[in-house]
């Protein structure tokens, strides 16, 4: 079943019409886009604005561990941290989700319980996506059955770069179908572009529209396994895409930069960009996430600094 808005049904009908549409999107001038991102990055967020931004950023974190060495112990510790990031401060909000491989979903789900913190699973032969479709779909169903609230899939970058847009589109549609549950509590779908492999902003813009038309709930920059991962200008282009998509279809799509965002200062730059490019409707964990691991501790340190008036140190925050 397609979730493409009626207004765009003609577009997604064939390879040729998809290509025409995606290549008819306005181009992105690299220098101008990067200059705009750099300009927004000079915003100075102080005092009450900073307090607001730090808490919001914590609430937007998909606390992530995606390592071969992951164990149930590690995932439990991470999940505990997601629920109570700062054990010393009960006012500190929980993160949005923890993000793990499919085989760790059950463990995470068990620890998170009814905390409200979601479990996100990377599926579809993450990170390369180089597997047959039925294997990718099995990967997804496995995670969904284990209780994943959110599925982070990767697109087939090879197909995208070869211009096989219909193939990429169909895969996203298939994965979204695989996200369904009998009880109607479907897992939300985040679509990862691996923008470091797509390379150009024109490609990022096309991938954004392709994924949105195929029914993505979120569009996500990167797996974290390829450099460069999330950058401000890439996220700018994606925020422009979701803004324009809502203007055309009335539907909101979320954005998730992932990888490389390590400091509170960086996170705040992203929030400024969300605020001024997409608008404050997106300033919500339902519509904007950070895929990150070390970011959380820096957010916590800065939060403590705001509350105590002195700089904190890493020894005061857990390393999970």
């Amino acid at each position: 079943m397609s979730s493409t808005p009626t207004i765009l049904e003609d577009v997604t009908g064939s390879e040729a019409s998809l290509r025409r549409f995606l290549h008819g999107l306005p181009g992105v001038d690299q220098v101008g886009a990067e200059a705009r991102a750099a300009g927004l990055a000079t915003r100075s967020i102080k005092t009450s604005a900073k307090e607001f931004a730090l808490d919001l950023a914590i609430r937007m974190v998909d606390l992530t561990t995606l390592e071969g060495q992951d164990t149930p112990g590690k995932v439990r510790a991470l999940s505990a941290k997601a629920i109570r990031p700062d054990p010393a401060d009960p006012t500190c909000p929980s993160t949005a989700a923890v993000c793990v491989y499919p085989d760790m979903v059950a463990v995470a789900k068990e620890t998170l319980g009814t905390s409200g913190v979601h479990v996100a699973a990377v599926a579809t032969a993450f990170p390369s996506g180089r597997a047959a479709l039925d294997i990718k779909l099995a990967d997804v169903r496995d995670a969904v059955e284990a209780g994943a609230d959110e599925i982070d899939m990767v697109i087939d970058r090879g197909a995208f770069l070869a211009g096989r847009y219909q193939h990429v589109f169909d895969e996203i549609v298939a994965v979204r179908d695989a996200c369904r549950r009998q009880d109607g509590e479907d897992a939300h779908l985040k679509v990862i572009f691996e923008t470091g492999e797509l390379q150009t902003y024109d490609n990022v813009r096309r991938a954004s529209w392709l994924a949105m038309m195929a029914g993505a709930h979120f569009i996500k920059t990167s797996t974290g396994k390829v450099q460069p991962a999330a950058t401000l200008p890439v996220t700018l282009v994606m925020l422009q895409a979701v803004r324009d998509y809502r203007a055309m279809t009335g539907q909101m799509v979320g954005v998730k930069p992932a990888g490389g965002i390590r400091t509170a200062k960086d996170a705040i730059k992203y929030l400024v960009m969300v605020n001024e490019v997409a608008g404050d409707d997106w300033l919500d964990p339902d519509w904007f996430r950070f895929g990150a691991s070390t970011l959380l501790n820096d957010l916590l340190m800065q939060r403590t600094k705001m509350k105590t008036g002195r700089y904190s140190g890493p020894d005061y925050f857990t390393l999970d």
């Binding site: 690299q30 220098v31 990067e34 902003y201």
Partner: protein
């Protein structure tokens, strides 16, 4: 009984045609010994107006021709002049009172100067343009472009070499021009106009008015559709030069000021006669994927 020769009517050269003065006025042109030679058309302010109109009309086409094409046309002027060399020698000799040998030297110099300028058409951009290494991801290039319609008050003494030396640098870069010839020595300018008319120079690129710089000059200096003015032809007349500079300020014409005395036309002209009527355009473009 010897044959009665057929005399030429000397007329203006506007828009590629040879009209009489709109006012129908003429004035007597005498040779260097004071003997009557011919009646020349006395250009009026309306002739100046018409000439400016013709020059403006010609500007778009002339300025957008390739430099190579302009070079060939200027070279063609030299070829046709060479072909009519005896006539020019006679005219210069008569006008300036030079011996045939000396007049021949002047004509040779004028032809050679055209050849020199012809070669500049596709080189001046390379010499005065610039690639600018700006501190950012931008392609940045400065190139010279013609100023537009240039009024030229041609020198009073050097009726041919001086004339060529102020006209060629203006048109070789793509400007069009309205020239006021030497008042007392206008006939070589009219003959030069006849060369232009047969040298592939598009009508209106060069318009030649015979008459008085003091009379026509102020109209050209004040004309709001003239972009620049060369005051060489009123060398030594500081009062008139100042008045014309004041008039030229009304639309901020580029002014090539009047020298204290007419220069030695045998000297190397350098770039200044060309650069005085060039604008520098700088184009920026981002460099990215």
């Amino acid at each position: 009984m010897s044959r009665i020769d057929v005399r030429k009517t000397y007329k203006l050269y506007i828009g590629g045609a040879f009209p009489r003065s709109e006012s129908s006025y003429t004035y007597e042109v005498l040779d260097s010994k004071g003997k009557f030679v011919a009646n020349a058309a006395l250009a009026s302010r309306k002739d100046a107006r018409d000439a400016v109109g013709a020059a403006r009309k010609a500007f778009g086409g002339w300025s957008s021709r390739t430099a190579y094409n302009r070079a060939q046309i200027i070279y063609r002027i030299a070829e046709v002049m060479e072909d009519r060399r005896p006539q020019f020698v006679q005219a210069v000799s008569q006008s300036e009172g030079l011996s045939a040998a000396k007049a021949g030297g002047v004509v040779d110099e004028a032809i050679d100067r055209l050849v020199w300028y012809a070669g500049w058409a596709d080189k001046i951009t390379q010499v005065v343009g610039n690639a600018n290494p700006v501190a950012g991801p931008f392609f940045n290039l400065s190139t010279p472009e013609p100023t537009g319609v240039v009024a030229v008050l041609a020198p009073q003494d050097s009726s041919l070499l001086g004339l060529v030396s102020v006209v060629a640098p203006v048109i070789v870069t793509g400007n069009t021009t309205v020239v006021v010839s030497s008042y007392e020595r206008p006939l070589p300018a009219v003959t030069f106009a006849e060369v232009l008319a047969t040298s592939d120079v598009p009508g209106g690129v060069v318009n030649i008015l015979t008459g008085s710089a003091a009379t026509v000059g102020p109209w050209l200096a004040a004309h709001m559709d003239v972009n620049a003015i060369d005051l060489t032809g009123i060398a030594g007349d500081a009062g008139l030069a100042a008045d014309l500079e004041v008039a030229a300020a009304d639309n901020l014409k580029r002014v090539r000021r009047a020298p204290a005395a007419e220069p030695d036309w045998l000297l190397d002209p350098g770039l200044e006669p060309m650069t005085a009527f060039l604008e520098t355009k700088t184009v920026w473009h981002p460099i990215g994927v």
